[in-house]
């Protein structure tokens, strides 16, 4: 579903944010991407989503190169950033209709999907309000709904639980599990190790721009908790 091969990203100021990163996410994988602040998680996710250009390595989404066939890749994934910066002058429903129009979703289908997810996230009553009046959490919920309405094969999420209330966080976790059960894949970054441990079947740990360890959760964790493994890696490497 997602193949990141030897991806490296150097910023114009010369700083190497990510170096030789290789990650493979298979259909059905709920893949956690773990690292401390500034480790290179967001840079990698942005490159996967086609937001950041890069000069080394290859990224394939469902067999299509993000550099050469960006539009085909973008039809297959949905990206949710760490900060829900969306068009504040639109109402919630206008934003969702905008996304639905881009993905050419029929009126019937969009009504069904929007109604369902808006009820799940308890923002149905706010859909006619202008987004600038939304709280951070409400904006985050709206971005999540917009990512789900076109049924993407791959979900790319950057710190998806930040700013969500406990019920919404649980809803997102359930959605992620359901999505993977149906054959989709989820690739998400987090530094909440408990969440990653309970949710993911695969995980990669990044430190100072380099993948230190990656693989299935069982392989990486062994007899220890993910937190212990992570702390050992931070101390030893």
């Amino acid at each position: 579903m997602l193949k990141i091969n030897h991806f490296s990203k150097t910023y114009p100021n010369g700083k190497k944010a990510v170096e030789d990163c290789t990650i493979h996410v298979k259909p059905g994988d709920l893949y956690g991407f773990i690292g401390h602040n500034g480790a290179g998680k967001t840079t990698t996710l942005k490159a996967v989503a086609g937001i950041l250009e890069f000069d080394e390595g290859e990224i394939y989404v469902n067999g299509h190169s993000i550099q050469k066939e960006a539009l085909l890749c973008k039809k297959d994934f949905a990206y949710i950033p760490d900060n829900p910066d969306i068009y504040e002058n639109l109402t919630g429903i206008q934003y969702l209709n905008f996304i639905a129009d881009i993905f050419e979703i029929s009126e019937e289908k969009r009504k069904k999907e929007i109604d369902y997810f808006a009820e799940e996230f308890e923002i149905k009553n706010a859909l006619n309000d202008i987004i600038s009046s939304y709280s951070h959490g409400m904006k985050q919920k709206l971005v999540i709904i917009s990512a789900l309405i076109h049924e993407p094969k791959l979900l790319i999420l950057d710190e998806p639980f930040v700013g969500l209330d406990p019920k919404a966080a649980l809803t997102v976790k359930n959605i992620m599990r359901e999505h993977c059960k149906k054959g989709g894949a989820v690739f998400f970054s987090t530094h909440v190790l408990d969440v990653a441990e309970k949710l993911c079947n695969s995980v990669a740990i990044i430190k100072s721009g380099k993948i230190v360890v990656s693989g299935s959760m069982e392989e990486i964790r062994g007899q220890e908790s993910l937190e212990e493994v992570f702390m050992e890696i931070l101390d030893n490497e």
Binding site: P12, N13, G14, K15, K46, A49, G50, I51, A70, L71, L72, K74, K75, F77, A78, Y79, P81, N83, D85, I86, Y87, E88, N89, L90, T91, I93, Q94, N97, F98, I99, A100, D101, I102, F103, E104, I105, S106, E107, R110, K111, I114, K124, N125, A126, L127, N128, D129, I130, S132, S133
Partner: protein, 517 residues
């Protein structure tokens, strides 16, 4: 307060980009841009010097203080009303952060006004310093010349206070309405028209009197503009004149600081939240193009700064076309500073339309205005063509009807033949399409998504500045070329111009659309 002012300078002038930028290329680019900017300011200053020198040569040096005061007033008012106040004082993304810090309201307002005052003062020196030099050359170091220099520090206060008070009033009034942006746009344009009418009234009489060499011009300026009169009185040693000048200058600023401090919280925060709507959720469907176009159009009209900055050209074109029905064409052109005959004016009408279209470019800020939302269009499966055509359409829905209506009005008002109507319609339309694409290309080259205030990209953005300069200079050059070569037929001019714009558009399309999101 000093710390706030220091931060404002670092932020607004992007000083860290020059001083602490690890990317040398960017630092050099920033330095070069600063040098070009300084050179431009130098040219303005030199122009002022020549103007004052001319007055000295005509033995009218006593008019210099009044003239320089009027110039400073016009410059500072426009700078503040149009550029600094809307983006810096209000609608600033840092407002919430600043309001949460332990500062008094008066400290925040004073810091912002101090920053604006320093900028205004530096700008006023473009006129004040040349005037001071000429006064020194004329009469040497005496009380008058030194008094002029000292009092010049007070020149920016009144225009700054008036611009600020009007902006506060607009923000306060507009905030009471649901569609506050539309109200802000309407009020801003209304105040601008009033201001231009006032300044034209002052200038027109001065110019006429200059031509007639009327020696009592200072009195005339005084009648038209009280502050200039009080300045002249002050420089002649009248204590009451000095008192009035200082009282009004400083008093107006104190009133402005007091009023703004009182309402700053209301003006800066988004407290006018629209009430919850009970309307039923509507699931409209539409094409990709219409979705992008509607999104861009809403974004455009949601920003009063953006609209006011880009709609002026279209509005002026309409006003110009309407005025031909009531005022003689030669008089209108004369008020623009040109002395032309009726047939010459009719000949250059398509180029005049092109100037107005050159000033009505929305696309040169349309990418930057996406700001932090840019991730949305970058991650959606939409092509560059789809994104750009929607942005171009936002400009064309504003300019094309104006081109058509103005061409019809001009044809009817001046009883022009149909062939003239075609050229008056066609060339501005071609210009608008060409400028729209050029604006997109410029914005691609000088894109800035990390702005804190919309004014940074809409008013002070490099892409916007270059596009507007090109849009203004090229048609003006065409007008001069056309007037200086009366032997060449107008038809050849129009055909060549239309051909160049058409080919230019065809060349710009692939160059612009080649960009990848």
């Amino acid at each position: 307060m000093n710390k706030l002012v220091k931060i404002y300078f670092i932020e607004q002038f992007k000083l860290n980009k020059i001083c602490h930028n690890p990317n040398r290329k960017e630092a050099i680019k920033a330095i070069l841009m600063s040098m070009v900017f300084i050179l431009l300011l130098g040219l303005i200053s030199f122009y002022s010097f020549l103007m004052f020198f001319g007055l000295k040569q005509m033995n009218l040096a006593f008019l210099i203080p009044g003239f320089s005061l009027i110039s400073v007033f016009a410059l500072v008012f426009i700078l503040n009303f149009f550029f600094l106040m809307p983006g810096f004082c209000f609608n600033n993304k840092e407002d919430n952060m600043i309001l949460a810090l332990p500062f008094k309201m008066s400290q925040i307002v004073s810091a912002r006004i101090s920053f604006i005052y320093i900028i205004s003062l530096l700008l006023s020196w473009l006129t004040v310093i040349p005037a001071f030099i000429i006064l020194l050359l004329d009469s040497g170091f005496n009380i008058q010349s030194m008094g002029y220099f000292v009092l010049s520090f007070f020149f920016p206060l009144l225009p700054l206070a008036i611009a600020g008070l009007i902006q506060s009033l607009i923000a306060k009034v507009a905030g009471r309405f649901k569609y506050k942006n539309i109200i802000t746009i309407a009020l801003t344009l209304a105040f601008l028209i009033v201001y231009f009418a006032f300044m034209m009234n002052v200038n027109q009489i001065d110019e006429q009197e200059l031509l007639l060499y009327i020696q009592n011009m200072a009195t005339s300026i005084g009648h038209k503009f009280f502050l200039a009169s009080w300045l002249t009185e002050a420089l002649n040693g009248d204590i009451w004149g000095i008192t009035k000048f200082l009282l009004v200058s400083v008093g107006s600023l104190i009133i402005y600081i007091y009023i703004t401090s009182k309402f700053y919280y209301q003006l800066s925060s988004d407290q006018y939240v629209i009430g919850k709507s009970n309307k039923q959720v509507k699931y409209h469907t539409g094409s990709i193009f219409s979705a992008l176009f509607k999104k861009d159009l809403k974004r455009y009209f949601s920003s009063s700064i953006y609209v006011v900055n880009t709609i002026v050209g279209s509005l002026l074109y309409l006003v110009f076309a309407i005025s031909t029905h009531f005022i003689d064409l030669t008089e209108i052109v004369e008020s623009m500073g040109l002395m032309l005959e009726n047939n010459q004016i009719i000949q250059i009408l398509p180029f005049i339309g092109m100037i107005f279209m050159g000033l009505s470019v929305t696309t040169s800020a349309s990418l930057s205005i996406e700001g932090k939302n840019v991730w949305i269009i970058k991650t959606l499966p939409i092509s560059t063509w789809q994104i750009y055509s929607a942005k171009l359409m936002v400009q064309l829905v504003q300019t094309l009807p104006v081109c058509l209506i103005s061409a019809i009005l001009l044809m009817l008002g001046l009883s022009l033949p149909f062939t003239s109507f075609i050229w008056i319609l066609l060339l501005p339309i071609l210009m608008s399409i060409f400028m729209g694409l050029l604006g997109l290309k410029m914005n691609q080259l000088f894109v800035n998504y990390n702005w804190k205030s919309e004014a940074e990209v809409v008013k002070r953005g490099l892409a916007m500045t270059i596009t507007l300069l090109l849009g203004g200079i090229v048609p003006i050059a065409l007008i001069f070329f056309c007037l200086l070569n009366p032997s060449i037929s107008s038809l050849i001019f129009y055909l060549s111009c239309g051909f160049v714009l058409f080919v230019g558009t065809l060349i710009l399309i692939p160059i612009t659309m080649n960009h990848c999101f």
